[in-house]
């Protein structure tokens, strides 16, 4: 099962010299980190700021790599309460002697993603760390002018990252195409650069979405993507309107203002509810409304009574919007990941279905029954006793990839497979060794 590597990762510059966009900013960071080898500089932290995809994090890693530093990162996917910040610092200290040692940079990525409630005390803890630190602290942010960041701004070297200009961006895309062996029209790449708004990551993602697996990329291909993007844009707008509605009427109106149908809207809300509502009361109430809307939609399918649709829509629009107890705040919505997940896991689900098919055939049960009544026990046997597992695998005529799926663990699968080899083969191997000895 190969996992698709995002090109934005694959082609992330590893050295400062490879950086094309915001090179000046990267060099400024380079100079600042370099000062640390001669003693602690006046500003003990650097705050890199600028729009998404302009190379802030890339610059940190490239500089670190070039000067031989290790980066210890804490980003938005980690909870960053005071104690969490403390813990990561402690970890860094434990490895070497942090307050004193060179060789590490602590990176607090996307500090504007720190939430006031969940990451309570996180910002002030970072401030305390900066006061005491003997190693470089780097932070990144999209918008550093939020009043919350003022104390941090005061003690940090501010380095600004600008939107990457279109010529540079086009050049970056051209380089990637050359490495991937893709022939792309200049105008196509230029169009991608145009619509990316100076965001290198999104431009590369777009390029990958359009070009991966192809030899040639034309302007038409890019325009097709744009059309798709427009619908997505529509969904973002609808969500924003919905979640900021002040009345039930306003909320109910959003669906009629868009191209989205209610099934799509259901998916979008489902994906983004927990992003919008961080208060458990809001979340539970909104989910309750969405789940009820879903029940109505099920009844409509069953009874073909379309008169029920208006109730379903009331619940998923007004019901979801009126669950809000706190003022509306902006969040970055995301594409429903259920669909992405289904396509990404297609291969492993196919293996799973073949495994279940094998079990079902031998045990007179449905595939679902096999998943429930047999698969878990076979998995347990694989882990507990690879020899017995090998017997079962042979009996079910499983291949290596199926065994790996069941085991859910490469090492366990390897042991089972080892036992499946005919005895003769193991013996020959041994004889082979002896042959060499004599």
């Amino acid at each position: 099962m190969s996992v698709r590597m995002p090109w934005a990762e694959k082609y992330r510059p590893k050295r400062v010299s490879e950086i094309l966009g915001n090179k000046k900013a990267a060099l400024e960071l380079y100079q600042w980190v370099k000062q640390w080898s001669k003693g602690i500089p006046r500003k003990k932290a650097a705050l890199l700021y600028g729009p998404p995809g302009t190379g802030k994090t890339t610059a940190v890693y490239a500089v670190a790599n070039e000067l031989g530093y290790e980066v210890i990162e804490m980003n938005a996917s980690d909870v960053r309460r005071a104690e969490d910040v403390e813990r990561i610092i402690a970890r860094a200290v434990n490895v070497g002697s942090l307050f004193g040692a060179k060789g590490r940079i602590i990176l607090f990525d996307e500090i504007d993603g720190m939430s006031g409630t969940e990451d309570r005390g996180g910002l002030s803890e970072i401030l305390r760390v900066i006061e005491r630190t003997k190693i470089p602290i780097v932070m990144t942010a999209n918008n550093p002018w939020d009043p919350r960041f003022r104390p941090l701004r005061d003690v940090s070297l501010l380095i600004r990252f600008n939107r990457v200009n279109k010529n540079t961006l086009t050049k970056i895309l051209q380089n990637i195409c050359a490495k991937e062996g893709i022939r792309a029209d200049y105008s196509a790449l230029r169009l991608i650069a145009d619509m990316s708004d100076g965001d290198v990551r999104s431009a590369i993602n777009d390029l990958q979405a359009i070009a991966e697996g192809r030899r040639v990329v034309t302007v038409e291909d890019v325009k097709a993507l744009l059309a798709r993007r427009y619908r997505e844009y529509d969904a973002f707008t609808v969500l924003k309107l919905l979640f900021s509605s002040r009345s039930a009427e306003q909320a109910k109106a959003v669906l009629s203002q868009s191209e989205l149908d209610y099934n799509d809207l259901k998916e979008w809300i489902h994906e983004n509810l927990p992003l919008q509502y961080s208060d458990p009361e809001e979340l539970a109430k909104a989910y309750d409304a969405l789940a009820k809307a879903d029940v109505y939609l099920g009844r409509i399918i069953k009874t073909q009574n379309w008169g029920l649709l208006s109730y379903a829509i009331d619940l998923m629009t007004a019901g979801v919007a009126m669950a809000r107890r706190h003022p509306y705040h902006f969040v970055k919505y995301r594409f429903p990941s259920r669909m992405l997940l289904l396509s990404r896991t297609k291969e492993s689900r196919q293996i799973r279905d073949r495994v279940l098919e094998r079990i079902a055939r031998k045990t007179h049960i449905s595939r679902r029954g096999a998943a429930l009544e047999y698969l878990p026990y076979i998995r347990a046997i694989f882990h507990a006793n690879p020899q017995m597992g090998a017997g079962i695998a042979r009996w079910l005529e499983l291949n290596e990839e199926m065994i790996e799926y069941i085991a859910g663990d490469k090492e366990v699968a390897r042991r089972v497979i080892e036992y499946m080899k005919p005895r003769a083969e193991i013996r020959t191997k041994r004889r082979g060794v002896q042959g060499k000895l004599f």
């Binding site: 259901k266 489902h270 509810l273 927990p274 458990p280 009361e281 979340l283 539970a284 909104a286 989910y287 309750d288 969405l290 789940a291 879903d294 029940v295 939609l297 099920g298 009844r299 399918i301 069953k302 990941s337 259920r338 997940l341 289904l342 896991t345 492993s348 689900r349 799973r352 279905d353 279940l356 079902a360 031998k362 045990t363 007179h364 049960i365 449905s366 595939r367 679902r368 029954g369 998943a371 429930l372 009544e373 047999y374 878990p376 026990y377 076979i378 998995r379 347990a380 046997i381 882990h383 507990a384 006793n385 020899q387 017995m388 597992g389 090998a390 017997g391 079962i392 042979r394 009996w395």
Partner: protein, 328 residues
């Protein structure tokens, strides 16, 4: 120790080998003696011997070459009207080989057939009675349409008695040269009750670890159930809804469990005395109520991921309430 699934290896091949359900077995033997079988409907919970009885009946009726006269279909996998029309009809209309004038069509998990497939089946049962007899197997006979039920001889299978289960498990252990303790058997009973398949699977998974002690039984069960169920509940109660929903997606998409399977496992976990999730007794009841509603809605046709997500959001709320020490 042999190395195939014991539940299959020790499945009784003939009616004589079936140790429980005496009444049913004796009536089935009567059919064999008369060389005539009506349409049959076997109903009862999982692991009570329905499929085994159907296969054993086929074996006794047709002898060693029974496979030539039997079509075994699993309606959960092939539940549509097309299968019924094409495969079943095609098979039903052709003449049987040998001295029995009809073939046997075993439709396992028939309660999962769609309504229109059942209607089609009903017609076929009438039209081809001379050349084919049906044995329908179901967990829930109420999901079989009335006209089919009325055409079948009805057999209700009951969960197995503890003595029968123990007797069988001891027999298998003896054959396999596995040591079993009394506590081990009790532990297997606790998780399988009268479900023989689950009992044997548990026995084998525990035997894979060594002597079948209570400790090994619980360890095997721990290894067998997806750890994500417990993790999902814990994350939700802790207030990490996103984390919990990610686990849910793993269960639904990677493990391929249905929403009903997931909610049932959640329910079991909540009331499992050995679970690491500790909840006040009244809260367990509250969650059972929520879980029941989720299952009901999914059966009715609602979307499992959305219903379960709403359930997790409620768990998060309960978790918050417990943390603050409040009760309502």
């Amino acid at each position: 120790m042999s190395e195939i699934l014991w539940a299959e290896k020790y499945r009784p091949k003939t009616l004589d080998e079936i140790i429980n359900q005496e009444e049913i077995v004796s009536r089935l033997k009567q059919f064999v003696k008369e060389k005539n079988v009506p349409h049959l409907l076997f109903a009862g919970p999982p692991g009570t011997g329905k499929t085994t009885a159907a296969l054993a009946l086929a074996h006794d009726l047709y002898g060693e070459r029974w496979r030539e006269n039997v079509l075994e279909l699993n309606a959960s996998d092939e539940r549509g009207i097309t299968t019924i029309r094409e495969r079943v009809k095609e098979y039903a209309r052709t003449v049987a080989l040998g001295e029995i004038p009809f073939k046997l069509i075993i439709l396992d998990e028939a309660d999962n057939m769609t309504a229109d497939a059942q209607q089609a089946l009903r017609r076929i049962m009438e039209l081809y009675t001379t050349t084919a007899r049906f044995c329908l197997i179901a967990n829930y006979p109420s999901k079989i349409i009335e006209p089919i039920q009325s055409r079948c001889a009805f057999f209700r299978f009951r969960p197995l008695d503890k003595e029968h289960v123990f007797e069988r498990l001891k027999y298998i252990a003896g054959q396999e040269g596995v040591k079993v303790t009394e506590e081990g058997l009790e532990a297997i009973w606790e998780v399988s009750q009268g479900d023989m398949r689950r009992a044997i699977n548990t026995l084998q998974a525990a035997a894979a670890l060594g002597v079948v002690t209570a400790e090994n039984v619980y360890k095997a069960i721990g290894m067998a159930k997806p750890k994500e169920v417990q993790e999902m509940i814990a994350l939700a109660l802790k207030g990490d809804f996103m984390g919990a929903r990610d686990k849910l997606r793993i269960l639904l998409i990677n493990y391929g469990l249905s929403g009903i399977d997931v909610i049932k496992q959640v329910h079991r976990e909540i009331f499992n005395p050995r679970s690491t999730i500790k909840l006040p007794e009244d809260v367990k009841v509250e969650i059972a109520d929520l879980a029941g509603e989720v299952e009901f809605r999914i059966v009715e046709g609602a979307d499992d991921e959305i219903q379960l997500s709403a359930f997790l959001a409620k768990l998060a709320l309960i978790g918050k309430r417990l943390k603050s020490g409040g009760r309502s």
